[in-house]
């Protein structure tokens, strides 16, 4: 076989396969929610959103009250937990642990599930005001025993909704578009 033929028959397909493999693997690794979905770190206390938000139907804003008044929704202070757990389920070891921390004035450090890079300045207030359900970004939290990330906080996800927000908005909302310019989130 002529060396040139060998090159065409062997090297070219191998090269093509290598290129394909590279494209596919890069694509797979960088697909928007590849690393995001399913992240569910173990928490210091076995808090269940399924119980509190699902079964007991406590409003999200009862604990995450910052979402209406601040950029940050916030994680409740242990005082908020103790509003109920002074009297509720005080026999459970987890509640006893919570009570101990609270009485000692020690902070309860949760493992962060949702995070944004430092150059992103997301603001909960206008989203809550517009009637966007918390579940739109945070997933069906009320069904989660362990809080699990459903959606990556990526700009593509933000923009998809900002360009066509009607699915996330309550019926009858007059909003047809949301901000798409850089300074809305980056500053």
């Amino acid at each position: 076989m002529h060396p040139f033929d060998r090159a065409i028959r062997l090297v070219l397909p191998m090269g093509a396969v290598a290129v394909m493999a590279t494209v596919l693997s890069v694509g797979w690794f960088t697909q928007p929610d590849r690393f995001a979905r399913g992240y569910a770190p173990e928490q210091p206390l076995p808090f269940s959103h399924q119980l509190h938000a699902g079964t007991l139907r406590i409003q999200c804003l009862y604990c995450h009250s910052g979402a209406e008044r601040s950029r940050h929704a916030g994680v409740p202070s242990t005082t908020t937990c103790m509003d109920c757990h002074k009297v509720t389920k005080t026999d459970r070891p987890a509640i006893q642990q919570l009570t101990r921390l609270h009485n000692e004035g020690k902070p309860l450090a949760w493992n962060r599930v949702h995070t944004l890079p430092d150059h992103v300045f997301f603001d909960h207030r206008p989203h809550v005001k517009a009637g966007v359900a918390c579940q739109t970004c945070h997933g069906e939290v009320q069904t989660m025993q362990v809080l699990t990330r459903e959606m990556g906080m990526r700009m593509a996800n933000c923009l998809a909704c900002h360009r066509d927000p009607h699915q996330a908005l309550p019926k009858g909302s007059k909003i047809t578009k949301a901000a798409e310019h850089c300074a809305a989130c980056h500053r």
């Binding site: 690393f35 493992n111 850089c182 500053r187």
Partner: protein, 1001 residues
């Protein structure tokens, strides 16, 4: 640029009307090149080693390896912790700022302020808008207090003999030292700064009663003693003068720099009376001075004279006002005491115009004398004001401050062994006395020496016991006067194991450690006094509620006690006024507190060191200013080092050529040349040793000599940086021009554009900057630095043209270089052009236009090509040439505004119109279902401007203040001819020269 010989005096015909540097005036090739390049050539210097020492090739290799490692481990990487409050204080919502009213004391001045805190840490300071005087404004130095709170050099725990001790041990040691002095029958000397708080005064009185031999001395090395001497002569007591510039139609300044920034009320009142739409006739400012001051640069008429002559000139004015204008002399003054004739250095038209103006304005006239001027001129000015019957000033008795005599006596007592204990509280005599050896010798004779302060200084090194003090943002206090009391409250708990100075002294009242009659802490003492003296008797409001309301407002209006009439002692005043220091010698030297570092107490503040001096535009240092003609004569140019000698003392100092400086006059700032503090050490030279021994004229020395050393240093000076290329950048006209039509001649036809017009559906943000109101104080620069996390880059970087300020103040002189006929200060910042030249050239679209008219900058998209800066005609883009922020850790990083990204190396940045405030305002309005109100969004620069020269708002709303001002006939856009359509409209500067008076000197 400094390498070029100084151009010879004006010979060409076609010189530019406005210029910033002598080189620009004569258009040297170097200056031409600076106009053409976007950065100084040095800024692009490749000689800078990469800080990490990694080569490009290694770097790429590492990136590859790191990516591979990251890709294999990236799944479910930990995202960090969320730590909520255990017990959230009800007033704190994470992400929402709280504001606390407080008061900042600097020497004998008080600044009522609002402190913005986020999650409990102070991040920004503005003036207290509840205070009727400052109305939301404050001084640039007060703004910069944030960075001083987080100064990493602060002493974090008490020390005794170089070893850390706890507070009970430290307090015991202090008590023992003082008790030993009492037992030995020796004095306990407390050397402190001015004590203005009534509660602190009570505390000192109690200490005096409890401790025999306790002697408090209040000493402010930067407060002028000659002003006090002049006041003593004229009124028989120490007085303070407060100008009421809103009532002044004619202002004559004899070397008084009242617009320098330290007095926001004065700037507001001065600028407020120059608005052409105002009801009252605009004021006219006459300035006779030696050095070029910021006030001089704002004058309608300025005449350079030697400061030693000011007393005689003022007396000459008094005589002419009596003889020719029929004003009455005060009792006890005879006309024979007053010198005859016009002083030779003042041109006849200026003299006549000034006389006519003063005589016609009478009680609406105000004469002010520079604190650094000799006592004689102060006495003469008191005489003039009394003759004119000026209603534009308030004279009050002042608590005595120690002068040279008292300090010298204290040093003698120390040397003679009469002092058993010495407590230094917030003062630094080892530095500010200007004689380290004398201080050390005297201090060595005192058995017990304690130091109370924040950053260990030169004096701390001479003390055994170091007691770290709270910053005022961590302290309680209260201040008078009775008709308008202000409170100081902590905006943050002490960051370190420190105590408030008053609390430390309070410990001296408890000999056994107990003491039941003594309140637990100073806070209690303040509350007790307020309960006793401020809470109205029989008020239905309980005291706690009353005090809380006062704390909330920060001010409390009380009964106004009319200022007691202060009769002028005519004959004593005129005698003092004639005792002017003899002129003669080569030069007169004026020593004034540094515009930003004051008496050296702020020398460790990077923000203040890097903020350019408003006149010389020098940062990081105090070069000696001298007249251009004197420099030519001595063969000196900018940055040349000269030997300055006065009365046997000499120091080597670089010089700058200062247009407008009187020939034969030198000026040098105090407060530099510190030997302690990681930022302050070695910056500039210490001018305190040059202060004179004579209390009548310590800050003005005659007979100074100047010799070239042949050496040259690079000055970190910003005046030639970022030169705009084009004509008609600043506009200046007179009130008379404005009345007669007013349309400025230089109107340009805009070039046709190929780009489609931008569309603004809801808002179009814009700004109007009134050059007539701007006095150049730099308040905006520091407000922006604090709000937008602007890094401090240091003197070497500034010299290369890499300073990062988003807003700069370009200072343009007009006309003659020996005595410019005017000066215009032009704040220059991103113009947010509709057709922004920077946007078109960004290869990654990191900078583009927002639908509300902002030229937005996405840092995370920027790859650092710098094309945008290259294409920006306004030269307002700043590039992070080096990593200025990554090494900032706590406590410094606590000063950052959490709403603004901290930019890393390799990223371009610029003014955003404070987009974080715009976004917050929009979201708040949306939350309340209402449209945005005009004036609701105020960027930091506008909020920090005491002259209210900056107005921000929505140009789409025709009724907004900014829209109306932008349509003003004085309005113009800088470099309008380029067609970039900037969103900032400048209003032309206005001058108010006297009719017939030869324009500006």
């Amino acid at each position: 640029m400094a390498e070029h010989p100084i151009p010879s005096p004006d010979t060409q015909e076609d010189l530019p009307r406005f210029w910033r540097t002598l080189e620009e005036r004569h258009e040297t090739p170097e200056a031409r090149r600076l106009a053409e390049d976007e950065f100084l050539p040095a800024a692009l210097d490749p000689a800078d080693p990469p800080p990490s020492g990694i080569s490009r090739r290694n770097f790429l290799g590492l990136v590859g390896a790191a990516t591979a490692v990251a890709a294999s481990t990236a799944c479910d990487r930990p995202q960090g912790k969320v730590v909520p409050y255990t017990r959230r204080p009800s007033e704190i919502i994470p992400g929402v700022a709280n504001h606390y009213a407080s008061t900042f004391q600097e020497g004998t001045r008080l600044y009522p302020v609002l402190v913005k805190t986020r999650e409990g840490r102070p991040i920004h300071i503005t003036g207290n808008d509840e205070h009727p005087g400052v109305r939301g404004k404050t001084s640039p130095r007060a703004l910069a207090e944030i960075i001083r709170l987080y100064d990493p050099d602060r002493l974090k725990a008490p020390q005794a003999d170089g070893k850390a001790v706890d507070w009970s041990g430290a307090q015991r040691r202090l008590m023992e030292g003082v008790q030993a002095a009492v037992k030995a029958g020796q004095q306990t000397l407390l050397l402190s700064g001015a004590v203005l708080s009534p509660t602190a005064k009570n505390l000192l009185a109690d200490l005096k009663k409890a401790l025999p031999g306790f002697l408090p001395i209040a000493w402010e090395p930067a407060e002028s003693e000659s002003a006090r001497e002049g006041g003593m002569a004229a009124y028989g007591t120490q007085v303070s003068i407060r100008p009421l510039l809103d009532k002044a139609r004619v202002i004559l300044s004899l070397g008084a720099d009242f617009l320098q920034g330290a007095d926001p009320e004065a700037i507001r009142a001065f600028a407020g009376r120059r608005k052409p739409e105002g009801q009252a006739p605009p004021n006219r400012l006459w300035v006779l001075e030696g050095p070029m001051t910021l006030t001089g640069s704002n004058a309608d008429h300025r005449c350079p004279v030697k400061p030693s002559r000011l007393g005689a000139i003022a007396l000459g004015l008094a005589r002419e006002l009596v003889v020719r204008k029929g004003l009455a002399l005060p009792a006890g003054v005879s006309i024979a005491d007053l010198p005859e004739g016009r002083p030779a250095e003042i041109p006849a038209p200026t003299w006549e115009g000034l006389l006519a103006d003063l005589a016609s304005a009478k009680k609406e006239a105000l004469v002010l004398c520079g604190p650094e001027m000799p006592a004689a001129s102060h006495a003469a000015v008191h005489l003039l004001n009394a003759m004119l019957g000026s209603e534009a000033l308030e004279i009050r008795r002042q608590d005595p401050l120690a002068g040279r005599k008292e300090i010298r006596a204290a040093l003698e007592a120390m040397k003679a062994g009469r002092v058993g204990a010495l407590i230094l509280w917030g003062v630094n005599p080892a530095y500010a006395l200007g004689d380290r050896d004398a201080w050390s010798a005297a201090a060595a004779k005192v058995p017990f020496r304690a130091w109370i302060g924040q950053i260990p200084d030169e004096s701390a090194a001479t003390c055994q016991l170091l007691l770290p003090e709270n910053h005022w943002l961590e302290s309680w206090n209260d201040f008078g006067p009775e008709e308008l009391s202000t409170l100081q409250q902590p905006a943050v708990a002490p960051l370190y194991d420190t105590r408030q100075g008053e609390d430390i002294l309070l410990g001296l009242l408890r000999p056994g450690g107990g003491g039941d009659t003594v309140p637990a802490d100073y806070h209690q003492l303040v509350r007790d006094r307020w309960r006793r003296e401020c809470h109205p008797a029989g008020s239905p409001v309980p005291f706690d509620r009353f005090f809380e309301a006062a704390l909330h407002d920060g001010v409390l209006r009380g009964k106004a006690s009319p200022a007691a009439a202060m009769p002028l002692l005519g004959s004593a005043a005129v005698q003092a006024a004639k005792g002017a220091p003899a002129g003669g010698g080569d030069f007169e030297l004026v020593l004034a507190p540094g515009c930003h570092v004051h008496d050296g107490r702020y020398a460790n503040s990077g923000w203040l060191q890097e903020c350019p001096d408003p006149v010389t535009k020098t940062t990081w240092g105090n070069p000696l200013s001298l007249a251009v003609s004197d420099a030519r004569r001595l063969g000196l140019k900018d940055g040349d080092v000269a030997t300055l000698s006065v009365a046997g003392r000499s120091l080597r100092v670089p010089v700058v050529l200062q247009p407008g400086q009187a020939s034969g006059v030198l000026s040098l700032a105090l407060g530099y040349g510190r030997e302690t503090g990681s930022t302050a050490r070695g910056v500039g030279v210490n001018a305190f040793p040059l202060l004179g021994p004579d209390a009548a004229s310590p800050n003005l020395r005659t007979g100074a000599k100047l010799e070239s050393t042949g050496k040259h240093v690079e000055l970190a000076r910003t005046q030639a940086h970022f030169r705009l290329d084009g004509r008609d950048i600043v506009r200046s006209q007179t009130f008379a021009d404005l009345a007669h039509g007013g349309e400025h001649k230089g109107h340009h036809v805009e070039l046709h554009t190929l780009y489609p017009d931008q569309e603004f559906p809801d808002h179009k943000w814009g700004m109007v900057i009134d050059l007539n109101a701007c006095v150049g104080c730099s308040g905006c620069v520091l407000a922006c630095q604090s709000e937008n996390n602007i890094p401090v880059v240091g003197p070497e970087q500034v010299a290369k043209g890499r300073e990062m300020h988003w807003i700069r103040i370009d200072r343009y002189y007009e006309g003659d270089e020996e005595n410019p006929s005017g000066t215009v200060h032009q704040p220059m910042l991103c113009q947010h052009c509709d057709h922004a030249p920077c946007e078109n050239v960004c290869p990654v679209n990191a900078t583009n236009h927002s639908p509300d008219g902002l030229n937005q900058m996405a840092y995370n998209r920027c790859v650092g090509t710098r094309y945008c800066a290259n294409n920006c005609p306004y030269k307002v883009r700043r590039f992070n040439f080096l990593e200025y922020t990554a090494d900032k850790t706590e406590p410094e990083s606590l000063a950052y505004n959490p709403e603004v990204t901290v930019r890393p190396r390799g990223v371009m940045e610029k003014c955003t119109f404070c987009v974080q405030r715009i976004q917050d305002g929009k979201v708040r309005a949306k939350g309340e279902d209402r449209p945005l109100r005009d004036g609701e969004i105020v960027p930091a620069c506008a909020a920090g401007c005491p002259a209210e020269a900056i107005v921000f708002g929505d140009l789409k709303d025709p009724k907004s203040r900014v829209s109306r001002l932008a349509a003003d006939r004085r309005g113009y856009k800088v470099l309008e001819e380029l067609g970039a359509r900037p969103a900032i409209t400048y209003l032309a500067d206005l001058r108010n020269p006297a009719q017939g008076g030869h324009h500006a000197g």
